[in-house]
């Protein structure tokens, strides 16, 4: 399990973005401003360390909206605790992601 001490700034940003409602890769990317080559491996790492959990949406929902299935990520309890600890370590985290949100068209 990943402790609070070894969560890098970028990983904390990604965790924060997921907690803020960006629950799939592309939206995390748009919220944090990090490139896809950073986001997706980071999501794998966070999932491996038990901080987030992924789940494919139901086929019926995607079919009804005529779009491909999407994989959603959400925080686990450990992830939530780690995020709270990392917010103390990185106090500007919330501001960074909210700035990215306002920059988006």
């Amino acid at each position: 399990m990943l402790g609070e001490a070894n969560l890098s700034h970028s990983a904390a940003m990604i965790l924060h973005a997921i907690a803020a409602g960006s629950n799939y890769g592309l939206s995390v990317m748009q919220m944090t401003g990090l490139p896809s080559g950073t986001i997706y491996p980071a999501l794998r790492r966070l999932e491996r360390d038990g901080l987030i959990r992924s789940q494919w949406e139901r086929q019926s929902i995607a079919d009804a909206e005529q779009r491909p299935l999407r994989k959603y990520y959400r925080l686990t309890r450990t992830g939530q605790a780690t995020l709270e600890a990392s917010q103390k370590r990185y106090p500007l985290l919330a501001k960074l992601t909210s700035a990215s949100e306002t920059e988006q068209p």
Binding site: N6, S10, Y24, G25, S36, G37, P41, R44, R45, L69
Partner: protein, 274 residues
């Protein structure tokens, strides 16, 4: 055409992912690409697609390790020294079985082993500086014993590399005397020089990629900044100690203000102070 290119890129990247995970990996990337095309446009979707290569590389490095890969995993300092010790012991064992050299008949044909070391050292030092990283850019440094441990580890690696080179050197000695004008000696000289250059460079590179406190390999590389904002912000790759001792920032381009990797300890000063 761009769509086809993106599909080919994803297919090629998928080859790096283990067979059992490939289908799901590809499904996720295809799905995300579909949304990226709609939300980002074709050009940025193409850039988005390149991330699949990084992701697939991550998978290939981190999927369940087997056999040889597990042995070659040198993350822990004990394992690294252990593996080098095995090589050194094997080299000594081989050297023991090489017959003694015949009596010298032609003094001019004896190669200078000292010269081999000097040439190897010059090749190592020539292209770049030997500095590992800047560890002093911190308010508080770890105790002297911890700092000493880093140098002891480096010295142990170099000593074991030198011991490993003993068998080829002994063979060189034998071959040079047995066949003064023959090819074997020349080939072994080249082998020893380049072998030493490669392993010395590896030991320095490996040292630079380790945490100065626990000496374990750093992980979780993340690109920070953009080349466009070069003069305004950091443009580097961030590595971190998986035990939380600190972070290493490796510059993408060397500048007068950031010309070598910089290490930051994660001490109590890193935390928030409202």
């Amino acid at each position: 055409m761009i769509t086809l290119l993106q599909q080919v890129l994803l297919r090629c990247a998928a080859l790096l992912v283990a067979g059992s995970e490939r289908r799901e990996w590809l499904a996720e990337w295809r799905s995300e690409l579909w949304y990226a095309r709609r939300e980002l446009g074709p050009r940025r979707a193409m850039l988005f697609c390149f991330g699949a290569i990084h992701d697939a590389l991550w998978y290939s490095r981190n999927s369940s390790r087997c056999g040889v890969r597990e042995i070659a995993n040198l993350d822990s300092p004990a394992r690294c020294v252990g593996l080098l010790t095995v090589f050194a012991a094997a080299s000594l064992l081989v050297a023991y079985h090489i017959p003694d050299r015949p009596p010298i008949t032609d003094q001019r044909s004896e190669p200078s082993f000292l010269l081999i070391f000097v040439v190897a050292c010059l090749i190592i030092m020539g292209p770049q500086s030997l500095s590992l990283a800047d560890y002093r850019a911190n308010r508080s440094l770890p105790c002297r014993l911890t700092r000493l441990g880093r140098w002891v580890f480096l010295a142990a690696k170099i000593a074991l590399i030198l011991l490993t080179s003993y068998a080829p050197l002994r063979y060189l000695d034998y071959a040079a005397m047995a066949h003064p004008r023959g090819r074997p000696a020349g080939l072994v000289v080249q082998f020893v020089v380049w072998g030493l250059v490669f392993t010395f460079r590896w030991s320095l590179h490996d040292q630079g990629e380790r945490c100065p406190v626990c000496l374990r390999r750093l992980g979780n590389p993340v690109r920070v900044g953009e080349p466009a904002g070069y003069f305004l912000e950091w443009n580097c790759t961030e590595f971190m100690c998986l035990r939380g001792h600190g972070m290493l920032y490796v510059p993408e381009c060397h500048t007068s203000w950031f010309n070598r990797p910089r290490w930051y300890y994660m001490d109590c000063s890193t935390g928030a102070s409202d």
